[in-house]
Homo-oligomer: 484 residues x 2
Amino acid sequence: MKFVIIGGDAAGMSAASKAKRNSPQMEVMVLEKTLDVSYSACGMPYNIADPSRDMDDLVVRKADIFRQTNKINLLTGHRVDHIDPVRKTVSGVILSGNIDSDNGSPTHGFLGNHDPVVTNTYQKFSYPFDKLLIATGAAPIVQDLPGFDLPGVMALKSLEQGRQIKKFIEANNVRQAVIIGMGYIGLEMCEALRTRSIEVSMVKPGSQFLPWMTCELAEVVKQELDDNSVKLYGGHTVIKIEQAVKSTPSEETQQNRKCALSVVCENITLDADMIIVASGVRPCSEVAISAGIESGIAGSIAVDKMLKTSDDNIYAAGDCADAFHVVTGEKCWIPLALRANRSGWAVADNVCGIETSLSGVAGTAVFKVFDLQVTRTGLSLKEALSAGFDPVEVVIKTRSRAHSHPGSRSVHVAMVGDKKSGRLLGVQMVGKDGVAHRINAAAVALHANMSVTDFAQTDLGYAPPFGPVWDPLLTAANQLLKKM
Amino acid sequence: MKFVIIGGDAAGMSAASKAKRNSPQMEVMVLEKTLDVSYSACGMPYNIADPSRDMDDLVVRKADIFRQTNKINLLTGHRVDHIDPVRKTVSGVILSGNIDSDNGSPTHGFLGNHDPVVTNTYQKFSYPFDKLLIATGAAPIVQDLPGFDLPGVMALKSLEQGRQIKKFIEANNVRQAVIIGMGYIGLEMCEALRTRSIEVSMVKPGSQFLPWMTCELAEVVKQELDDNSVKLYGGHTVIKIEQAVKSTPSEETQQNRKCALSVVCENITLDADMIIVASGVRPCSEVAISAGIESGIAGSIAVDKMLKTSDDNIYAAGDCADAFHVVTGEKCWIPLALRANRSGWAVADNVCGIETSLSGVAGTAVFKVFDLQVTRTGLSLKEALSAGFDPVEVVIKTRSRAHSHPGSRSVHVAMVGDKKSGRLLGVQMVGKDGVAHRINAAAVALHANMSVTDFAQTDLGYAPPFGPVWDPLLTAANQLLKKM
């Protein structure tokens, strides 16, 4: 049995390793277009924040270990351009040896599609498969506008892009940055740059900050950015990026220092030494779609609960594939690392004859913005409305620790329930203490289709250093019940 | 309607306040034998740890506020000695004005049953009720052995006992303490005393440290005590406490300093300036049992899911009453603060005609031992065996944060599942980072009767500063599935 995997990141390498554990005799081949596999992509902003850390600390397992210890035929620098579902082959070009990975200045190829840059001629390849996994991930959305290909304009998705950003900061003495976009990655990069004392402005077309978040909670996040001297320019559409004439270090003083770049919007222009494009990601599904495989939500690859695509021999997993949402029961596209790993494993099991189906995702997400822990699971009020529920929301502010216990901080909770069925639909939480892991209790409740009444009765832990007697989630549930 | 409540702590005051919110016209009377109501009892060790804090910081709401704002007829210093279920009356003695609460030296009455000390004659009272709530709580178990009534031998349950311990430490320059018992309260008091640079030895008859905990995890807690120079003497039954002839300060040097007390065991004698008796608690159910009300597990008061006792007009709630366990479906006695508050509310609703029944408890507990967070929910392997399950346990050690993320610490998880039904039965966790709130996800799963397979599929949050991609609970569940 030949099991071929396109993509050597979370889903792909999870599937490859699990397949070899399940069936050591199976021929497992991974085709990865970059030179990096199995690294903690989500760790990049924290690594960029710390000049003393090597970006390669994030590599969980080196390619050679996969080859030698796991006996996986791992081919890096192999870009798959075509899938033939009838002949059951994959084909593409070998980029190894031609990758411009040490060129300090980023290029269009680096930014736009996180491909290595092909500088010379290249070889072609074609391999047959019995079962195929498409694990091509997601790519940053980069506006097709003038100047987005200039040096110093960068996105963060691949480890190589992380290395380039870190190198660029050091080589160019970056002191001012603009981040285009205000999502998870933008906010994490914002914290990373501020940690390095770089001034940060963030700009995006929409006027509402964190539009998926309840206003009161979004305001708390906004305040945290303000407290950390981050300038937010919501409601400004970027028109172009322009290169400025940069002063030479000898001409430069603290006062007259000029930036190399400008982000030009209709009414404002923001100067920067570096620009991070963090306007969201899109599923890398082209190779699947062009092979006639059915597409899913938001241009992702449609899969069933066993992660099978519309083709019986082809699976998809990770950020390129869709999933069922445990609250709505409908398809959704929520690219998150845990799902990628889990669905990689499930594909390996299915390929090896161990039938495994995944129930779905709750869309649980957590991130850090300076001292603030921001987290959500399930549906927001808006999402619940458009999913056809009869939702009601409560927003509360409570404390993270017991009455009079030192170190207690505010905890803000928004909780949404369905009036019709009584079900818990979603929770959002923001605070500086004890928020990150608290959300998981609500996530489990969503998986269990729990009613708000039943959730309000759960026996959550209490000790003064860790919470009030009534956990913030229980206080929210008790308040929500009054409105239902 | 006359609603009378015996006991003005968590369950009693929750019931009183809720009843007045539900039915402002209702006559609500609370009879509390001490002078303190509505305080954070669990916060006492942390308050004792800090000489700069006033013990009265722990009072959440003062008695006068309950009287004036909430219009509750709150009578402190009122000890109920008799319930007449037929005539529907409660009677007892008024201790107000006769309470020896400012006497620095503790006395037998102070230690043994946390009654105020009656120094003079006292008045009797008798009140009728339509509905009665018994919320008499629990009391420390104090061995009936010589010397347990000596000054400097103290237990911690009431706020007054907390005040006395704090005063005693200061007045007597306590430098060495012995704690009899090694449960939650003993361990929290141990940390409090070490924080004040007091040497601590702990002694108990059983040789197994934290016998409810899986050995590997108990060892981690033991190591933390060792790292903080706490001496543990397990397997030593206390025979008596003796008074020593204390040296006067002028005779005393660092070397020859003598303690006032000695804990005498068969093979060892432990000297101490102060002795804390923390050998567990027992339900204060005498007044109920002697009125013919049915008793439950461990001498507690038996209640149904609506918190009603065997008498139609009498409810019981809080540490004096039993509860259903959500995993076994059987009765249990697990005195915890959240249950006390919640069941107080439920009684108020039922008394006011809003039918409320409680599903039960999962026995979720969390406590802090120095830097360590220790937590559990549901059944241990031993408990699962004796409840008739076919349990299997897995114990894992993983990390609290993502690969290479700074500040990551070990997380130890023990997880128990039932082979027969596939159900998740219980979880224990120990670690220095991100343990306390993580347990709640497992607690919710127990309430939902989740299988280990379904729990392993839950979408828990991930971000590098807060956890690995696979949350420690998911890693444990994945490993447990292999054994099931």
